[in-house]
């Protein structure tokens, strides 16, 4: 039990970092209605680009920017495969994801792992987040604002604010319309293909940002770090929806719910590990949880009778 409580700040930090990726998944899965499997690859792309540039002496913010750009490029490829080449979205994502494995290896100089050398305090100090900062803050050797929860929390709030603004603009609205009803969107003069590509780029940019942050947190980029990311993202989206859908109606709050969903996911994982589960079973557990939650709406529709909708407020339009 003590182990579990000691591990909590770390779990929350990790959850927050993955939460940014989950917000990316929310954009494609919930808003655009596309299950984008690119994320399993672009997560590592973000990490790889960041680590390679940063250890090569590039400014941290430039390296972060570059990894975000690399992520959006991955989204662009999936988007073009889907819209321009007419490949179903799921397959387009799988193709990009597969090819990114090679690309990521190439970025990392054909090594499966590239570490950030954090043995020197100067290097460690430069990082935005690190596993070590969790302990450092709690024993007082670093100020509170260096705590990963604080730093990633700020990132999350920033991301949510930008997305809240964007999806309220004319362009953002046309993305939402594309995901809601393509026929309607096209009839209103919206270029649905452009919207899909843009959404995929935006989503994978966030996924890459999340990857770059996790690489700092773990002080390494590793070729398999994104494996199963889409499932973690979906889990966060679903948990956030199940827990907060009645409470949060505002779009910004819904994004916050996704981030909290990711935190809850990591706390549960930590609890399961503390109970002695072999860590190798985690992926099975994650997949099972997501499968069950995805099935619930289907079963609900199949085995319960829908309530009769109230008749329309005046006027003769009684038939749905």
């Amino acid at each position: 039990m003590l182990d579990f409580i000691n591990a909590l700040p770390g779990a929350v930090s990790q959850g927050l970092i993955w939460g940014i990726m989950a917000i990316g998944v929310y954009i494609t899965y919930q808003i655009l209605d596309i299950a984008d499997l690119t994320v399993d690859g672009s997560f590592c792309t973000g990490a790889a680009v960041f680590v390679v540039l940063f250890t090569g002496g590039t400014n941290l913010w430039m390296a972060l920017l570059a990894s975000v750009a690399a992520g959006s490029l991955a989204g662009l490829v999936t988007g073009l495969l889907h819209t321009f080449c007419g490949i179903p979205a799921i397959l387009a994502g799988i193709l990009t994801q597969l090819s990114l494995w090679s690309v990521n290896m190439a970025i990392m100089g054909m090594k499966a792992t590239v570490a950030i050398n954090v043995t020197t305090p100067e290097m460690l100090d430069k990082l935005l987040v690190s596993l070590r900062f969790v302990k450092d803050v709690s024993n007082g050797s670093r100020p509170f604002y260096r705590h990963p929860i604080f730093v990633v929390g700020l990132f999350t709030i920033g991301v949510i604010l930008v997305l809240y603004w964007f999806f309220g603009t004319e362009l953002g609205c046309s993305l939402r319309a594309t995901g809601s009803n393509q026929n309607m969107a096209r009839a209103q003069g919206i270029n649905t293909n452009f919207c899909k590509v843009l959404g995929l780029m935006l989503s994978n940019a966030l996924v890459a940002l999340s990857g770059a942050l996790l690489a700092q947190y773990n002080s390494a980029s590793e070729i398999n770090m994104g494996r199963g990311a889409i499932v973690i993202g979906l889990a966060a989206v679903i948990i956030g929806d199940v827990v907060f859908s009645k409470l949060f109606r505002n779009f910004g709050l819904k994004l916050l719910a996704v981030s909290i969903g990711a935190i809850l996911y990591y706390i549960v994982i930590q609890a399961v590990l503390a109970m002695g589960l072999n860590a190798n079973y985690l992926k099975l557990l994650s997949a099972a949880v997501v499968a069950v939650f995805l099935s619930i709406p289907y079963w609900k529709g199949k085995y319960t009778h829908a309530k009769i909708k109230p008749a329309a407020v005046n006027g003769g339009a009684n038939h749905a």
Partner: protein, 264 residues
Amino acid sequence: MLEIKEIWKTFHAGTVNEKQALRGISLTLEDGDFCTVIGGNGAGKSTMLNAVAGTFPVDAGTISIGGTDVTRLPEFKRAKFIGRVFQDPMMGTAPTMQIVENLALAARRGQPRGLKWGLSKAEKDRYQALLHGLDLGLEDRLTSKVGLLSGGQRQALTLLMASLQKPKLLLLDEHTAALDPKTAAKVLELSDRIVAENHLTTMMVTHNMKDAIAHGNRLIMLYNGRIVIDVSGEEKKKLTVPQLLELFSKVSGSDEADDKLLLS
């Protein structure tokens, strides 16, 4: 306003399912014309409307709207000129978005969409007033999701959306077919009002011969991908359903006189 010249369309060419849906259709509508379109199942009514809207490219022929050749323009670019209401009430609106958001999307039809805010306060007031005019109680539900509305309410909303940014051409594709008779009558009445108020050039596909005769100033009937009957002006005003049926059996060379056409 609309000029269709010799358009042809074959679906599934070269397979057993090959279907010549449009076989050289030509039609010219003047500014303000309201043309009703009838014909049996598979006659090509919806295909003709979709060809004009750009849902698919035609095999041959040209289409121009208001003097602009749109034959090669993709659907979303033609939308600048065209307002549409579909047969399926689910097709014309975004169900997961609010009523006002749907209206705001429609108000920007054909305009570039940038990073300006997607819905202004002044717009909201304007939409509220317009919804009030529909008399469906929607003015009190501005922020309701459209997915919660009934079919009739959605078609009324889609009609309003189609007219917000005044289109050069309004396409109504059996837009009352999925509604119960009472609601259908109401939506049809609303269509007439919106067309008249905005002086819109309109094509309305319908299965109902009575409606086709009662509305608009011109009537065409399609048969096997061709226009076989075309009446307008005084002649159309005097037209009755039996006359129309007789006319049809003469032109189509059969007197299967389609109960289907009459009844459905």
